[in-house]
Symmetry: C2
Subunit: 465 residues, 2 copies
């Protein structure tokens, strides 16, 4: 099957159809009971997987015709493949979470309209339609759910704009800041909680809760800018954008589950359910994208996907009040960003592309380098720092006989990994980085749940909902 | 100044700067008092005008580079100009309404956090941040506001998709249906009112309120599909998409004002304020677009604008519960749709473009025609109908000596207007259609407010908020 063949194979059609049918049945079944929203979310995620998988296949040529295409530079045969397929993920995801809106509120609709005792569905619907007995409805939960959707739609709109118009790097940085405005505005209107729990050793000086006011919004905005951009810069080989996002999403979901299966009902249960409702469909569309984007990639994901993925994490962690946990899961991204900083901020020349170099003879990826000419050498302090990094095995520096710089590897975690591990096949590199992300993330969760109790008294603070 | 010159002239810069400065001052001033949301909305609309005006100028070449361009067929010099500029309007509009979110709730935040008496702003902010005293906050209003934004973002996303990928007509029709899902879902969760007021003559049989249940959702969905598409098909000459939208928006705003300046506080005041908050920024971005799109057009608006405009009307009229009023204002669009139906549904051949024909010799627009060959003539009943329409002056039919059809004018209101009025200059035609829209709309409002009382007892029903 070639990349432009838009038909699903018979096996694919049957599998996707079976999955969709099972999910629809599961979804229909939730109406029988209490409308279990978690089951409904799982079923909708399965449907999202099928829809995304098929639409990426079907719409590939349409995207290429509209100019959304790119060349995979790490392959022998450099042919054009569709770009910006993350846009499809985003649209399917948004549809699904919008359709999902009534499910978490099913119980509340029932409780508010029939007095709680009567569970006859036919009667509910009749009562719901009177609309005057909904006073107990948890509108604040609904509002935060909707604000999350608005933020995600904003990032999708701006991300597609970026993929279309190739916005400059400096301007790109602020796209997520714009998209986080709805979130912050609703956070302000809706919760307005800007107090942070003070670690035990500092409590004698600061009290239990410290109100940081405006700074809390600045902090949330910083997270919102960092998360999408950090995923966007850990890119360049097939599948890496999607696998890192999947790992982070799975670990966040795992963290949520820790709160759901406690022996006593945890006060933060609602926040973590909320988080799962957004993460499960994201995993659905991401796995579908991965099927097409894994080595050898038949489609590219585009900046839209990276921004969108980063924003999903921001939304669930801010509205679920576990943004510190997100930071722990982003450690490889944080390392990659700090490590990239000398090139991003112009201390060291930054070529247009820093992705690992494909060696056509061996078929392996090697670290890409920034060349230095004898005329243009780094300034002494920078030269000293580069040599130090080389000694610490955090860089590979090549010098000529006179000790002049010939080349230095580019400052990305992918190149660094290749410096450590030697030339690797593209899929092998992606797998190793993904494994590293998983291990580091699991360690982060361990720190969060076992070590955090040393500095905080309670595990988590519940929010009034 | 040519279409590709991206700089604003000195006069433009100064005027826009002055407008923006005045609006920012106005906006800052609202924080002094009760945070008058209507004034804030007006100020933000002015800022939206400046932003849209400048961005359309600046981003024109970027859009053309990305392939979003078209040729104006009704001009002597057929040069390419940027297409899809409605996308810029949509993005600016969405930003503005998102930033506006806290304003209508300012009073509620104050009331909920300081007990209503204390109006010291410094204190409010401190109290707001505790976040635990917001129980009286009107979250249901916030939720409907947010759902409106989600619907509008959805239509912007799908509209941009349409402009990029040239979706087929049959599929296009349902784009607004998808975008209305958020609105309907939140309507279901949030109000659930599906009763309609029964006209007086029918009350003995049906009672005062008739619960139409599911049909009410079907009705809302039908309005949501019709309104954006009807604006999209009344198109083809410079400025007409924007002017018709502006006329409808101004008349809706006028209708809203009728409820605000009543001697006693009208029960529907909140719904109509809500409507104004969405209409004013829409007028802001639309006037900015009109400056560039009016004859001779320097940019095209794209399907995005038409869908977006139609959806703004749908959103305000559904959430404000005056969808019947919207129908009265869409009379020219309804006529155009019914008149177009024979071609849209294939009874009569439909060429790719039905816009009026530009006569390069006279510089005037003439009705465009569908040609009939001697071999391919309409079937007898259709031929009879065409002759009848010709006699009723609702069509111009040209026949040869044997009575065979040579051509019939295309079934659009623009061509019909040219049949009635003779060849016109493009801007003259746009002005006359706009004037007609205004007169018909004013008549519609007159019917709504003076004649409706003959069949309904009350003027409007208030919703519990």
């Amino acid at each position: 099957m070639t990349a432009t063949a838009t038909d699903l194979s018979r096996t694919e059609t049957l599998s996707l159809f079976a999955l969709t049918a099972a999910c629809v049945a599961l979804l229909a079944n939730t109406f029988q009971g209490d409308g279990e929203p978690l089951i409904a979310s799982l079923a909708l995620s399965g449907i999202a997987f099928s829809a995304t998988y098929s639409m990426i296949r079907w719409l590939g040529p349409t995207f290429m015709k509209a100019g959304l295409k790119g060349v995979d530079m790490s392959k022998h045969h450099k042919k054009e493949i569709p770009e910006c397929m993350g846009g499809i993920c985003a649209i399917v995801y948004l549809m699904v979470v919008i359709v999902f809106v009534p499910f978490p509120f099913y119980k509340d609709i029932v409780a508010a309209t029939s007095g709680g005792g009567n569970r006859d569905v036919v009667l509910h619907v009749e009562h719901v339609e009177q609309g005057r007995f909904l006073h107990r409805f948890p509108h604040s939960k609904l509002a935060s759910y909707l604000s999350a959707i608005i933020s995600l739609q904003s990032i999708a709109l701006l991300g597609i704009g970026d993929d279309l118009f190739d916005i400059r790097w400096r301007h790109k940085l602020f796209i997520p800041a714009f998209a986080s405005i709805p979130l912050l505005v609703v956070y302000f209107v809706d919760f307005g909680v800007t107090s942070i729990v003070v670690p035990l050793p500092l409590r004698p000086y600061l009290g239990e809760l410290l109100n940081v006011g405006f700074l809390y919004y600045a902090y949330m905005c910083a997270i919102a800018i960092f998360s999408p951009n950090s995923i966007n810069i850990l890119a360049g080989i097939n599948g890496i954008e999607v696998t890192q996002s999947i790992v982070i999403a799975v670990l966040l979901a795992l963290n949520d589950c820790l709160y759901l299966f406690t022996p006593y009902p945890h006060p933060a249960t609602d926040s973590h359910l909320f988080s799962l409702y957004f993460l499960l469909p994201f995993l659905g569309v991401s796995f579908a994208l991965l099927c097409h984007n894994w080595y050898p990639a038949k489609v590219f994901v585009g900046d839209t996907y990276c921004y969108f993925a980063g924003m999903v994490f921001v939304v669930v962690s801010i509205l679920g009040h576990f943004s510190k946990t997100l930071v722990l899961l982003l450690i490889p991204q944080i390392f990659n960003f700090i490590y990239s900083a000398p090139q991003l901020f112009g201390l060291i020349p930054c070529p247009r592309h820093r992705l690992p170099k494909f060696n056509a003879r061996t078929g392996l990826l090697e670290p890409s380098v920034t060349p230095w000419t004898p005329e243009r050498q780094p300034k002494p302090p920078i030269a000293w720092a580069l040599h130090l990094l080389h000694k610490l095995k955090l860089l590979r520096v090549t010098t000529d006989k006179e000790g002049k710089f010939v080349s230095t590897t580019n400052f990305t975690i992918l190149n660094l990994w290749l410096v450590w591990r030697g030339p690797l096949k593209e899929n092998r590199l992606a797998m190793e980085i993904t494994a590293m992300q998983t291990v580091v993330g699991l360690f982060g969760l361990f720190v969060r749940h076992k070590l955090a109790l040393l500095v905080f008294k309670e595990d988590n603070w519940a929010l009034p909902t």
